[in-house]
């Protein structure tokens, strides 16, 4: 099965890359972008066939490597 992991900066953590995106969108004429936050998307192809076990595995992967929980949050989507 596939796991899709989104890693995003926690609220309140300065995101200079998001700010730069926001400013550039504004200068391209896209009005009304109140905020841009940049994150990461990681797709994993897993041998595991049980969704709950897969989620538990990926959660462990996020804690140990994929996210730095000092500054980042993560979400996991498991697809059959």
């Amino acid at each position: 099965m596939k796991a899709k992991v989104h890693v995003t900066l926690k609220n309140g953590v300065l995101d200079p890359q998001g700010k730069a995106i926001e400013h550039t969108l504004g200068s391209l004429g896209f009005k009304g972008v109140k905020q841009a936050r940049q994150g990461k998307f990681i797709e994993l192809d897993l041998a595991e066939t049980d969704a709950d076990k897969a989620r538990a595995q990926v959660d462990e992967m996020c804690k140990k490597l994929l996210a730095n929980t000092v500054i980042e949050n993560y979400t996991i989507d498991i697809e059959g």
Binding site: L14, P16, Q17, A20, K40, K64, L65, N68, V70, I71
Partner: protein
Amino acid sequence: MKACVIVFPASNCDRDMKVALERSLGSPVDMVWHRETDLSGYDLVTIPGGFSYGDYLRCGAMAARSPIMAEVVKHAQRGAPVLGICNGFQVLCESGLLPGVLMRNAHLKFICKDVSLKVENANTIFTSGYSSGEVVTYPVAHHDGNYFTDAETLKAIEGNGQVAFRYVNNPNGSINDIAGVLNKAGNVLGMMPHPERLVDPLLGGIDGKPMFDGLVKSLAA
């Protein structure tokens, strides 16, 4: 005293660190490849600057999970000294040996220049060659040197005297102008600026030399 420099793929300040240590120590310093699993012969372990694993995922993230780092963590937990400079600082934060994290510089630019630093705490094994409040000049060369911690951690590290160096003019957005930070026990130091690049007048100055002289003296005592 026996010292070593840990080498990761794309470390690039490893030889500078070796030379700086050897100058102060007067004996050879070993290079230890990241796949090694034994640090039992060493008193001092250092992690050099560079761009280990191409800064993939996050700076220092991959290196912090390499086989040798489990031994570095054990070495530090025994109370033995560990020094990380630049990428080494990022690796130490990622490994959990130091609090906080190094983020992209606030202005998004790679910075390569000399900066003035205030020695905030000279009462450590790493900074005993200086006096508290002394201002020194070290080079910085980094894209991700913006030190950050949550408010609670920041309060703790400030209260415990864990800030070793502070920028006089903050170049990268680091919280509280922090350039170098210690663990609570004081045996692990991480810093973004490069003392190892200023240990010979030929390189433009010797402001970094007292750090290595002081460290060798502290560890010999």
